[in-house]
Amino acid sequence: MRVMNRKAAAHPARQVVRIAAAMFAAIMLAVLPAAAQPRDEAPEDFPQGANRDDTFYACTACHGFKLVAQQGMNRRQWDESISLMVSKHGMPAPEAADRDKILDYLEAAFPQRATPSRGGFRNPFAQ
């Protein structure tokens, strides 16, 4: 893997992502019987809204969109999240207009939630 990454450093960065994702898939496919393959995701799995597909592809180079969709945050918090991806995780900074589009979608699709329960722990089987 390290070798792969080093070799790929000469290629456009996105190529690295593509190769790595393919390799991950290959590994998972290698160990799994065909019928038992957990499936990865598509934009259609997530709430509809303007800029959904672009946001999906901007945020899925390193991890699945499920990691994004399980958050519930306001625009400022989403903006901080993107800043973290750029400053700490090496995401190429999106251009301002694109960042706004991404934020529009994230804020609308995964808003800060009104918590159903105040006060910490809820029983695992409640509902």
Partner: protein
């Protein structure tokens, strides 16, 4: 690299995504199904005979995605998309993300002190997870804090004195999804933890082979998994030398009597009993003694807790700042796992679960059947050592609808908190739990 435009890079990311989704079928439809049955089907576990310690009929070996109900306190995005899904060699677990794989253990598996290997949770930060040939795999041991360097393979490790320890491996962020207000991260419920019998060589014996210098302050650990994108920092952690030298800090190659499964760190991983899972490096391939504090992102920029907020003993002094410290040992905690909330039980039925802490050992677990007004000591189960889950139970008392609570205390007098201790990364959730039961 300069800024990227959505269109162009989207194309490429799209390719990457398509490469990972080669199977047919439509995960989307399943996850979005409006009318879904809870995986408990509304029936209490007791009604299904689970509380008596029988097999778990709910979870088959099928990899078919099954919908499930999760607590309302979890973020909507978790509840909307959560499904049970089986990774290679695993029972269906609760999927938080597939790339990288983050899967938690359903609560039914926490009725015993040992968590079955095939139900043990899976956590990765970075999605480039290599296949490893155990025959050619080697750990590089060295660093400026070591007198020499060496390479050590699986057979070398197995030839060294073997140590076994039963220890809880819990993600620092277990129960993060229950934080209110929300904190970003993997939104775990209760199952980002497990307890196993680990077998391996002592880390200190391996370090002794390289010769550790007295100036060494930390031991830096790195594994074979890495980022899919080379500008993303690799996952690297360090532990203080004193912790590395403890007799129970291991390079483990066995889990519950069998070779480590790949997704839990094969061929070998680091075991740091008492400390949160972040230090338990999987697929370990580099161990370096160093004389200055490690500064990489995963030490300096993540896994930190505010100073002074938690009642912890173990310190990681070389990494402390004026405001925060790396997370170290686990806080004392318990989980009621015998019954579903709302279950109907006969008076006198044993109700209980598991308790654990950062390695001082569980002293008592008290239970309340009246919402915390009065407390009684529960009966503790077998003692598998101070780093293990300890089971507890008590025959339920009362009539009608009652609130059951459990509160664990460890050997140094630490106990669970009544009110969440908020912290930005969402660590150390050990709020006292309450479950309502109807006693007939």
């Amino acid at each position: 690299m300069a800024g990227f435009k959505l269109g162009r890079d989207s194309e490429r990311a799209r390719d990457a995504v398509q490469d990972t989704s080669q199977s047919q079928g439509d995960f989307g439809e399943e996850s979005l199904t409006a009318s879904r049955r809870g995986f408990l089907g509304g029936a209490g576990l007791a009604a299904l005979g689970l509380a008596t310690g029988g097999a778990l009929p709910l979870l088959g070996d099928t990899a078919e995605a099954a919908p499930l109900n999760l607590p309302p306190a979890l973020p909507q995005g978790v509840r909307q998309n959560a499904i049970l899904d089986a990774l290679p060699g695993k029972k269906p677990l609760i999927k938080l993300s597939y790339r990288p794989p983050n899967y938690e253990t359903p609560i039914e598996y926490f009725r015993t002190a040992i968590t079955p290997t095939d139900a043990f949770f899976v956590r990765y930060h970075l999605s480039d997870i290599p296949e490893i040939d155990p025959k050619t795999w080697k750990i590089d041991v060295g660093g400026e804090g070591a007198a020499g360097t060496l390479q050590i393979g699986l057979d070398d490790l197995k030839a060294m004195p073997a140590v076994e320890v039963v220890a809880v491996n819990q993600c620092s962020g277990n129960r993060r999804g229950l934080f209110d207000p929300h904190v970003p991260g993997v939104e775990w419920g209760y199952g980002a933890m497990g307890c196993a019998r680990w077998k391996g060589a002592r880390l200190k014996d391996v370090l002794a082979k390289a010769g550790i210098k007295k100036e060494a302050i930390e031991v830096v650990l790195s594994g074979a998994d890495g980022p899919p994108f080379d500008k993303t920092p690799d996952f690297i952690k360090s532990i203080p030398v004193w912790k590395a030298m403890e007799d129970t800090t291991l390079i483990a190659y066995e889990m519950n009597g069998a070779p480590l499964p790949h997704l839990n760190g094969a061929p070998a991983r680091i075991i740091v009993p008492g400390w949160t899972g972040t230090y338990w490096m999987k697929h370990i391939n580099s161990i370096k003694a160093v004389t200055t504090p490690d500064k990489n992102f995963w030490m300096a920029g993540a896994y930190r807790i505010p100073l002074g907020k938690f009642p912890l003993v173990a310190r990681f002094v070389s990494q402390e700042t004026a405001v925060n410290t790396p997370i170290t040992e686990m806080v004392v905690n318990s989980l009621i796992s015998s019954h579903a909330d709302g279950a109907k039980v006969k008076s006198g039925t044993p109700v209980g679960g598991i308790a654990w802490d950062g390695g001082y050992g569980i002293q008592t677990v008290e239970m309340s059947f009246d919402g915390g007004k009065s407390w009684m000591p529960a009966k503790l189960g077998e003692d598998l050592g101070r780093y293990a889950f300890r089971t507890f139970s008590l025959p339920v008392k009362g009539k009608g609808k009652i609130t059951v609570m459990a509160r664990a205390t460890n050997a140094i007098g630490q106990t669970q908190t009544a009110k969440l201790i908020h912290n930005p990364p969402g660590y150390h959730h050990n709020v006292i739990q309450s479950v309502s039961l109807t006693v007939a």
